[in-house]
């Protein structure tokens, strides 16, 4: 569908390109407004997303108003934006070139590159090119030097950015390059931006070499997507989610970041602005299973390897989040010089949630390890010791209050879900022992597991309402309770679970979406949107309860909230349907994949091969 781009762009006007080490966001009108190199959590080079005036950007946009359409080329992460103006049509192709390791060894190629190809389709279109790099979250305004045929060079702290193009460009002020080019039908022009650090840069080559890079990237992504084993009715959405998840993975370590952005607001103009360019352990179990189920065993194993390596640093305690290389310190800072997306301040980098206590992560990590072992992974002696250590930590700490899965900053409480996930942690540990993946005495773990179960049955369940509740001895529900059946704590069709689902829909539902908890109950100013993954959990739970048709209707409704290229943010504004929060969000896409797979399984067209199915089948009735 073609449309006129909005100014300034909304969150949903962006699409992502990347190379599994870093990512960039490109707006519908061709402006690259967010880029962090060399890795996801590096300081930004372009941050117009967070401040259009000072953030810096790299725009290739029509000089006159145009209608635009966008798509990813086939099953790839190569973005194609088509501008239709009064005098012609032009196509802009954006990508971070990717190729096999073998190809990379055949030629000297830049470590980090963004390639922008402009292709005249019909008539003529005049394009405006503006390149304004602002490194270090726009705290620096470096000089751009024109080195002639070698491109436009910007240096800052041992790093260099080089822009080359076969269009007329000139330095208009010390920190900006502008150009204007008229593209005719059949013409093809290129702009390439590369980043170097610590050694002489590799310059981007244009012309035939750029064409080759585009071809190689298309082939690489298509071959990757072809490995996806999902063949159900939602293939297009599932493949897009898998491709997005792949983009959010950090190939050198196997980690998966929650999102490539920071401080995109959960409420426009509000203060719920967090940095999501890190890896949350809570996403571990579902991410791992989604990757395995789709046939991406290599990525799943790399993620598991990162998970086990990283958690060794803080063993036997687990931290909520880590960087892509497993660093545990992520001090949160505010960037007061940035205006924030739609005036949403403060802009934050780093994330203080790393210091929170979230007991549920033990269950998520242990469930991931169990899934891994069930898929044929080996639990070596060191890993076995690590997992047993986590089991002891759970036994020691499960009675403590925590911040819970939603990282509420208003003080610790006894969250039912956290207790249940402590039960999951010990349950999986015992199962690993029973299935001969682990040795040792698990009698103590059994005793605590049973105690947790009794505690949740007595205090995490509201006798009057006949439902589970969000905190022990509380009365409200929370959408995360939908996962109780997912992790096998209770049978999905248990009357208590059925009543809990009904109540969640009644108390938290809004226009076919779900809030994660009752609005304005977290101590922050109101305005949070509906939560994407909770809405997908609801679909999966309904499907597991046997209401396949209802779940499919809900799923179709939910898919309508993706943007024009199928991307989801963390949240959705219930009134407008606009995406809110960091974008695109891995966890929401994991939820989408999980819901599609559960639907397929529930409708009998697919057999899940995981340990989860076995656990769900043995789910306990209260």
């Amino acid at each position: 569908m073609s449309r006129l781009p909005t100014h300034p762009p909304g969150i949903g006007d962006y699409a992502i390109i990347g190379d599994c080490r870093s990512a960039a966001l490109v707006s519908g009108d061709g402006s690259l407004d967010w880029l962090c190199w060399p890795r996801f959590d590096s300081p930004s080079l372009f941050a117009a997303l967070l401040d259009p005036d000072v953030g810096g950007h790299f725009a290739v946009r029509p000089a006159a108003p145009c209608r635009t359409t966008r798509r990813y080329v086939g099953d790839t992460n190569v973005l194609e934006t088509t501008f239709r103006g009064a005098d012609g049509v032009v196509r802009l192709i954006d990508l971070m070139p990717v190729s096999s390791e073998e190809d990379k060894h055949q030629a000297l190629v830049p470590d980090h590159e963004i390639l922008r190809a402009i292709e005249g389709v019909e008539g003529t279109v005049e394009l405006d090119i503006r390149y304004e790099p602002r490194p270090d979250y726009a705290r620096r305004r470096p000089r751009v030097r024109d080195r002639g045929a070698l491109g436009f060079c910007t240096e800052h702290g041992g790093q260099v950015l080089i822009l080359r193009g076969d269009v007329p460009l000139r330095v208009v002020e010390s920190g900006a390059v502008h150009g204007r080019v008229t593209v005719r039908a059949g013409e093809r022009r290129f702009l390439s931006l590369v980043f170097g650090e610590g050694e002489p840069a590799v310059l981007p080559l244009l012309g035939e070499e750029a064409e080759r890079k585009i071809r190689r990237s298309l082939e690489w992504w298509e071959a990757w997507a072809a490995r996806c084993q999902y063949a159900g009715p939602y293939r297009e959405s599932v493949i897009r989610s898998a491709l997005t998840l792949k983009l959010l993975s950090y190939a050198p370590s196997g980690a998966v970041v929650a999102a490539p952005t920071t401080s995109l607001p959960e409420h426009p103009g509000g203060v719920r602005n967090w940095d999501y360019r890190y890896c949350w352990l809570r996403d571990a179990s579902l991410t791992l299973q989604a990757l395995f189920d789709l046939g991406y065993a290599e990525e799943a194993e790399a993620f598991m390897s990162w998970l086990l390596h990283t958690t060794r640093i803080t063993r036997p305690e687990l931290q909520v989040l880590y960087t892509v290389f497993g660093e545990a310190e992520l001090p949160e800072r505010e960037l007061p010089h940035l205006a924030g997306f739609a005036g949403s301040r403060p802009v934050r980098v780093g994330n203080d949630a790393h210091g929170q206590l979230q007991l549920d992560i033990y269950g998520e990590v242990m469930d991931a390890a169990y899934e891994f072992a069930n898929r044929g992974g080996t639990i070596d002696r060191v890993t076995a010791g690590l997992l047993t250590g986590f089991g002891h930590a759970v036994c020691r700490r499960w009675q403590e209050p925590d911040e819970g899965i939603w990282e509420i900053r208003g003080g610790r409480r006894h969250h039912t879900y956290s207790k249940v996930m402590c039960w999951v942690a010990l349950d999986r540990l015992i199962r690993l022992h029973e299935e001969a993946h682990l040795r040792g005495d698990v009698a103590a773990f059994r005793a605590v597991r049973d105690r947790i179960r009794r505690e949740v049955g007595q205090r995490g369940y509201d006798d009057e309402a006949g439902t589970f509740v969000s905190v022990l001895d509380g009365h409200d529900v929370d959408a995360v309770l939908l996962l109780l059946a997912r992790y096998g704590f209770v049978d999905p069709s248990d009357p208590a679970m059925l009543r809990t689902c009904e109540r969640i829909e009644r108390d938290l539902g809004v226009r076919g979406l779900l809030y994660r908890y009752p609005p304005a109950s977290d101590g922050l100013p109101p305005g949070e949107g509906a939560f994407g993954i909770c809405s997908f959990w609801w679909v999966a739970t309904r499907a597991a309860q046997g209401d396949v048709e209802g779940a499919m209707r809900a799923f179709d409704h939910l898919l309508g909230f993706g943007n024009d290229v199928g991307l989801f943010a963390e949240e959705i504004a219930p009134d407008s349907g606009a995406p809110l929060g960091n974008f695109p969000q891995a966890f929401t896409h994991v939820g989408l994949i999980d819901a599609a797979l559960t639907l397929e399984h529930a409708s009998g067209t697919r057999k899940r091969r995981s340990g989860t199915e076995r656990i769900q089948q043995t789910g306990v009735h209260l």
């Binding site: 060894h105 260099v160 080559l205």
Partner: protein
């Protein structure tokens, strides 16, 4: 000439020079990397280029150490400050005379005059290596001063 002595101190001085320059890269002072430049003359494979370049660079360090030893022998004695003076000269020769020759010799380095050809992509050093960062001349000369000072300070002139 005291060959065992110059082989030992040539090795030490080259290691110190390499470490200083790599440290400058790590600290963001300069992007000059002589092993990387030398290695990519042989292969586009980055990891292999690093290793090959390191070996070639070490060999160069020894060859230059022989030259230093010859200079010390001709003067008849060696002191750290004399070595440092030779190192200053050496660093300037590298910056002013040798680095500008690279685009003509290096099969993968772009030339500022002709513009990059399809197979030539490595950023050329430019005057005084300034394309690799404005502190490149300082880093290069300083590392060579230390290289020369080590040779001058520890070399024992033969026959004295």
């Amino acid at each position: 000439m005291n060959l065992p002595n110059i082989a030992l101190w040539g090795f030490v001085a080259t290691m110190v020079l390499t470490t200083l320059m790599a440290g400058a890269q790590g600290l963001g002072l300069s992007r000059v990397s002589i092993p990387f430049i030398l290695g990519t003359m042989v292969t586009p494979h980055r990891a292999r280029a690093g290793l090959v370049g390191f070996v070639v660079h070490l060999a160069n360090g020894w060859i230059f150490a022989l030259l230093y030893a010859a200079l010390f022998q001709s003067v008849g004695h060696a002191t750290w400050w004399m070595g440092a003076a030779f190192g200053t000269l050496h660093g300037l020769v590298v910056l002013i005379a040798l680095l500008p020759l690279l685009p003509g010799l290096h099969p993968r380095m772009a030339s500022e005059r002709r513009g990059p050809e399809p197979t030539r992509a490595l950023e050329p050093p430019g005057f005084l290596g300034l394309n690799y960062g404005r502190r490149t001349p300082l880093v290069t000369v300083f590392a060579h001063i230390v290289y020369g000072a080590i040779l001058g300070g520890f070399y024992r002139v033969a026959g004295v």
